[in-house]
Structure formats: structure tokens, C-alpha cells
């Protein structure tokens, strides 16, 4: 079985290196085909591993080689394939494979076709390292690796100019890439602190050793580690207040948004919390866990509210991703780790599908993303309409699609824990989710054909792309039915605590589900009433304070720009002018000047007369003898 571990892990790396060979050459379709095949290989290997873990009930632990061994510190390159990581592996490799195939079609006209596949496969490799590592150091390497790949891919069209918001509502990809990278850097610092704290107090970074040592640690240490690791997770999963980068990251190519900013990388934070569940389950850190749940609930509501009014197709989906990540954190924070993982997997399928559908629309509309300029596309894009419809129904949580089961379980958990306020917010958010999902679908595919005004001739995506998307659509429909089996499978792991609803909740479950459903259907009906028959703009509503607030993302980007970026820029300017130029540069220049002048002055010594040299040598000899004698006397 070990070889499947290595195949699953290294096939994407091989794919990346292979594509990198052609990085600078013009488009070669076979690069994309081979990359997709290698990713499919990785998926098959992951599936075999998953079957093995299901059958035997225990994971595989391999140590490839020693990585760092210095003194007491020993960090191997070890990989563990257990119930949690194999779930992630299957999800990641499946979505990646679909996205790779999709990209062959989507990036068809891009001149950097080969480079794109190199980055994309490198991302998958990093993500697999992240989920498969058996220690925090390896996790961190993967964590940084996906960060770098994300930076590369968001900034893939780095040559696009940075235009002012009036000319182009979107921002430049390189700016977005830097924003994502820098925001993540802030969070990663905290994560690194958390890892150091754990290492300092347990003497190891291996998961099993660290988790075994947890009961013997102080409360303050546990709290610090839990908070620091969660801040790291907040950065990667774009939780408030580090959420701004995710929507800006939509500047990257759409397959990237589907793979990285919906299905895999942004869920790494959730994965970290699930992976470190022994830490977050400690009674000493229950406040931190509750904070996670509360923050997740808040983000779910907060992001959904911004999605209500946005006009950018991809940004709406990005907000919904944020919102769903909030759901996952709510579940994880409340201790329902397997539910969080289940929602993670289900969400990966339908959200990737949604993004890829959005990509099709974008492709058809020649990179136009404003849904107010679309409408009536269902006539020309029947396949995409179907897929996006399925994904939106799943997202809205209509049974029997995947989203209903996973999201309902989370809402039920919130009820079960007695946190009724969180529960209420999550229920309302479910209604909002349904509304914005269908607002987007109706505005894009139904109603009057507004695109005709802009002289755009949409066309359907290639057939093979639509076929490649079908596994995701299938899973978005049926994944929910495996809830019970999934629970049984994942919670059989010793590292994964089970979570079952109390009797009381169990009795009420059906009513709770119906309540959520009423909200969801209500949202859809509202969306249909407002947008089903074409766009009717309501000036009064659009000028209202709340609408403007939501449209401007609660003015948070402006706030950051005004109160963080600008002061920082000013400070940097001052540091440059006064510290760098006047102190550091000046001192370096002074040293150089000293030597220059000294050399200029002492050049006179160089008379060319051997006798003078001998005199100088004699002086030197005397001095050295003096030093020798003095040191000998002192010693």
C-alpha cells in the first residue's frame, strides 16, 4: 500500500515538473492532457487508499526520510493516510482532476497554457503534502506551498494593468495576489508561533506525540497554542477580519478559483482545526472552541449578507464560499468535527461545480462578470445552466442534494449545543444563501437577454469540458446520501471523536429540518419574485443605507486601506527617508568614505622604495613581538 501513498503524493509533482519543462513554450495541448492523466492517477491511488482504509479500519503511516535532525529535534518527512487525510485526499484529487481537464478547455486561448498547468499541479502537490503530513512542520511546508501556488495563480495574469475602480471594477491580479499573500503571511506568523509553542512544551511536532502530551500541559499553554493555530487557520480560510483577500483573489483564472479558493486551499484552515481536534476538544480551551463557532457563525451571516447585493458573478460565489467556511468552523468549534469534514467534502463538490459553471459563463460572455449585463443565457448554455442549477440547489440546501444534509447537520448541531443564537443566525443565513444563489442563477440564465445590448454572442463551452464536470454534478446530487456511512467511517478513527445529537434534538430534527427548508425555499421564491422575470432595478432600495453598506463590503476594504495600508505606507516612507537614508545608508557610506580616504592617505606609504618597506616591516615586527610577549606574560 505504501507505493500508492507515494503515487498519490508525487504524481502531481511529476505533472508540475513536466509542465514546467514547457513553461516558456507556446501552448501544447498534450501538456494539459498528461497533467490531467497524472492527476487522475493520483486520484485513483487515493481512491485505492481510501478503500484500503475503509476495509482495514486503520491508516497507513510511512516515513520517507529524515528531514531535520538536530539535537533533540527530529522531523521526518512522514506521511499519514488515515480516515481524515484520506477523505481530504480523495476530495482534493477528484476536484483537481476535474479542474485540470476543465482547464484544457478554459485556458484554450491563453498563451501561458503550459505554465498554468505547472502551477496548478504544484498546488495539488502542496495541498497533498499539507493534508498527508504526519507532523506540524510538514503541514506548515504544505501550508506555505499552497500559499505560494495561490500567489502564483491569482497573479497568473500579472500583466493586466492596475486600473482605477471607475474604469474597471475589478482590481489588478498582481495586486490581489500580493494582498492574498501578505494577509496569509500575517496569519502564518501566528500559526508558526502556535507550532513553536507546541514544540516547546511537548518536544515534538509529530501529531500523535503532541496529542498524547496535551493532557499534561498548562491551561495557558493550551489556550495560546489553540488561539495561535486558529489565527493561522483564519488566514488561510479567510475568516473575518482576514477575509478581504478571498474576494479579490477572484482576479485569478476561474479554474483556480474553483480549485483553490473554493474546494481545497481555503478549507485548509478547517482541516487544521479538524486535524488538531484533540487540542480543541480539551476542556481547558472550550472558550477558544466556542469563539471559533461564534466567529464561524458570524462570518457565515456576514459574508452571505454581502453576497446579497453583489453584481460580480465570481464574487458572489466567493462570498458564498466564505459563508460556507463559516458554517464549517461553526461545526468544528462546536465539536462536531466529522460534520465539519462532511460539509467540507460536500461543499468542495458543489462549489467547484458552481465556479466551473461560472467559468463557462465568463468564457461565453468574454470575461464579463456583471450579472446585471447577463440574463437569458439558458437558451444558449443549457448544460451550464443545468450544472449551475444543481450546484445552487445543493448550496441552498434543498433536499435531496448534498448541501441539505451537511448544512442541516451543522444547524442541528448548533441547536443541540443549546447555542440558540448561533442556531438562529445559521437558519437565517441558510435563507440568505438560497436567495443569493438563485438571484445569481435567475439573473444569469433567466429573464431578458440584456447581453445583447453589449454586442456579446455567448456560446456553450466545449463538450468534453461539460462531460468532465459531470462527476462533480453527480456528487453534488448524491453525496448527501452517504452521510451515515461517512460518519461511521470517519469516526472509527481513534483521532476523530464522534458527535451524535441528543435524544431531544433527534426528536425535533425533522421540525428543525423543515424550518431550515422553509427559509431556503422562501429565499428561492423571493429571488424568483424579484429577478425571475428579468431585472427590475429599484432605485430606492439601491440607495438605501444598508444596500450601500453591503455593496461596499461594510467599508472594510476602505477601512483597511485607510487605517492600515496608508499609515503603514507613511511609516515606511518615514523610515526610508529618515532611518534608511539617514542612518543606515549614511553609516555605510561613511565606512566606505573612511576606507577610501584612508587608502588615499596611506597611498603615500607606497613609495616603491624597499628600504621604506623594510622600515615599516620592522615596526610591524616589533609590534607583533610586543603583542606576543604581552599575551604570553598575561597567560
Amino acid at each position: 500500500m505504501e507505493k500508492f501513498v507515494y503515487i498519490a503524493l508525487f504524481a502531481p509533482l511529476v505533472s508540475s515538473l513536466f509542465a514546467a519543462l514547457f513553461g516558456m513554450s507556446p501552448k501544447k495541448t498534450f501538456v494539459g492532457v498528461i497533467a490531467s492523466l497524472l492527476l487522475a492517477t493520483s486520484f485513483v491511488a487515493s481512491a485505492i487508499l481510501a478503500a484500503y482504509v475503509v476495509q482495514t479500519g486503520h491508516g497507513i503511516h510511512v516515513t520517507m526520510m529524515d528531514w531535520i535532525s538536530a539535537g533533540d529535534l527530529a522531523i521526518p518527512f512522514g506521511f499519514v493516510v488515515d480516515h481524515v487525510s484520506v477523505t481530504m485526499m480523495v476530495v482534493v484529487t477528484l476536484v483537481s482532476t476535474v479542474v485540470h481537464i476543465y482547464s484544457i478547455g478554459y485556458m484554450d486561448h491563453d498563451k501561458s497554457f503550459n505554465r498554468f498547468f505547472s502551477y496548478l499541479s504544484a498546488f495539488v502537490f502542496s495541498m497533498l503534502v499539507l493534508v498527508m503530513s504526519d507532523n506540524f512542520a510538514g503541514l506548515f511546508i504544505g501550508w506555505e506551498g499552497v500559499g505560494v501556488c495561490s500567489w502564483l495563480l491569482i497573479g497568473f495574469w500579472y500583466h493586466k494593468k492596475d486600473e482605477s475602480p471607475e474604469v474597471n471594477p475589478s482590481i489588478s491580479p498582481s495586486w490581489a495576489a500580493n494582498e492574498a499573500f501578505i494577509v496569509n503571511r500575517i496569519a502564518d506568523l501566528a500559526m508558526l508561533v502556535g507550532i513553536f509553542v507546541l514544540y516547546w512544551n511537548t518536544g515534538s511536532l509529530q501529531y500523535d506525540v503532541v496529542f498524547a502530551a496535551l493532557p499534561y500541559l498548562d491551561e495557558s499553554v493550551l489556550t495560546l497554542a489553540a488561539i495561535a493555530l486558529f489565527i493561522g487557520a483564519m488566514g488561510k480560510s479567510a475568516q473575518f477580519p482576514l477575509h478581504t483577500w478571498l474576494t479579490d483573489a477572484m482576479e485569478g483564472p476561474t479554474p483556480v478559483s474553483a480549485l483553490i479558493h473554493a474546494a481545497t486551499m481555503v478549507t485548509a484552515g478547517v482541516f487544521l482545526v479538524i486535524r488538531a481536534n484533540p487540542l480543541y476538544s480539551m476542556p481547558e480551551v472550550s472558550e477558544v472552541s466556542f469563539f471559533i463557532a461564534a466567529l464561524g457563525t458570524f462570518v457565515a451571516f456576514f459574508a452571505a449578507s454581502m453576497a446579497l447585493v453583489n453584481r460580480d458573478l465570481k464574487r458572489i460565489i466567493a462570498y458564498s464560499t466564505l459563508s460556507q467556511l463559516g458554517y464549517m468552523f461553526a461545526a468544528a468549534g462546536l465539536g462536531a468535527y466529522w460534520i465539519a469534514l462532511f460539509h467540507l467534502a460536500a461543499h468542495a463538490f458543489f462549489k467547484a461545480l458552481l465556479f466551473l459553471g461560472a467559468g463557462n459563463v465568463m468564457h461565453a460572455m468574454h470575461d464579463e462578470l456583471d450579472i446585471f449585463k447577463m440574463g437569458g443565457l439558458k437558451k444558449v448554455m443549457r448544460g451550464t445552466y443545468l450544472y449551475m442549477g444543481i450546484a445552487s440547489i445543493a448550496l441552498a440546501g434543498i433536499p435531496p442534494l448534498a448541501g441539505f444534509f451537511s448544512k442541516d447537520a451543522i444547524i442541528e448541531t448548533a441547536f443541540n449545543e443549546g447555542t440558540l443564537f448561533l442556531w438562529a443566525m445559521l437558519v437565517v443565513t441558510a435563507g440568505m444563501t438560497a436567495f443569493y444563489s438563485f438571484r445569481q442563477v435567475f439573473l444569469t440564465f433567466d429573464g431578458d437577454e440584456r447581453y445583447k445590448e453589449f454586442d456579446i454572442h455567448p456560446h456553450e463551452m466545449y463538450k468534453f469540458v461539460l462531460v468532465a464536470m459531470s462527476p462533480l454534478a453527480l456528487l453534488a446530487i448524491i453525496a448527501g446520501f452517504f452521510q451515515g456511512a461517512f460518519q461511521e467511517f470517519v469516526t472509527s478513527s481513534p483521532l476523530m471523536p464522534d458527535y451524535v445529537m441528543s435524544e431531544h434534538t433527534h426528536h425535533l430534527a425533522i421540525y428543525l429540518g423543515i424550518l431550515v427548508l422553509i427559509f431556503a425555499v422562501g429565499g428561492i421564491v423571493l429571488a424568483w419574485k424579484k429577478y425571475g422575470n428579468g431585472l427590475k432595478r429599484d432605485e430606492k432600495c439601491e440607495n438605501s443605507f444598508i444596500y450601500q453598506l453591503l455593496k461596499n463590503q461594510y467599508y472594510i476594504p476602505q477601512f483597511y486601506a485607510e487605517f492600515i495600508s496608508k499609515p503603514y505606507y507613511l511609516l515606511s516612507h518615514i523610515m526610508w527617508k529618515s532611518v534608511d537614508m539617514k542612518i543606515i545608508d549614511a553609516s555605510v557610506d561613511a565606512i566606505a568614505y573612511l576606507f577610501f580616504k584612508g587608502g588615499d592617505q596611506t597611498r603615500k606609504m607606497q613609495t616603491g622604495n624597499l628600504s621604506n618597506y623594510l622600515n615599516w616591516m620592522a615596526v610591524g615586527l616589533v609590534l607583533m613581538l610586543l603583542v606576543a610577549a604581552v599575551t604570553a606574560l598575561i597567560a
Partner: protein, 100 residues
């Protein structure tokens, strides 16, 4: 009684004389003579140490120093002759061709 220190002081004095010669004279040939004096002063010190410690190592070193001195004279005089042919003088003040 003559002890090792007598010889060391003598050796030091002779070395100082040679040293003064090296830094005071401007004629290359005189510099060579002074160098010989310094080498010989070292030889005396070695021989004396050898005698007072009943150890032949000192004599061995003196022996090798003599060998080195002989080689130095052979090569050095050859160079001096070439220099004299080229410049017509051995005075260091006139040979200052490496002025920086």
C-alpha cells in the same frame, strides 16, 4: 659560569645588529650581509640550546639554516647581478620602480 642566557643575549645582540643593518642600509649587498648576520645569530641560539639541553634538534635546525642561507646567497647574488646589469646600481633609493 657561562649559561644559556649568555648565549641568548649574545644572539639577541647580533640579531639586533643585523636588523639595524637591514633597515638602515640602502645598498642591496649590504642588506645581504646583514641578513647573514641575522641568520648566524639564530644559529648561535640554536647551538646553545642544543648544548644546554643535550638535544640534537637545535643543531639540526642550525644545519638546515645554513643550507637555506647558502641557497639564498646563490639565488640572491644571481638576482643582484641581473639587477646591476639592468640598472647599474644596487641602491634601493634608485630602484624605486614600484611607486604607488
Amino acid at each position: 659560569m657561562i649559561g644559556l642566557s649568555h648565549y641568548l643575549i649574545l644572539s639577541g645582540l647580533l640579531f639586533a645588529i643585523g636588523f639595524v643593518g637591514v633597515i638602515r642600509r640602502r645598498n642591496l649587498l649590504m642588506l645581504f650581509f646583514a641578513t647573514e648576520i641575522m641568520l648566524n645569530s639564530a644559529n648561535i641560539a640554536f647551538a646553545a640550546a642544543s648544548y644546554y639541553y643535550h638535544d640534537l634538534t637545535g643543531q639540526m635546525f642550525a644545519f638546515f639554516i645554513i643550507a637555506v642561507a647558502a641557497s639564498e646567497v646563490a639565488v640572491g647574488l644571481g638576482l643582484l647581478i641581473v639587477l646591476y646589469k639592468k640598472f647599474g646600481t644596487l641602491d634601493l633609493d634608485d630602484l624605486a620602480s614600484m611607486k604607488g
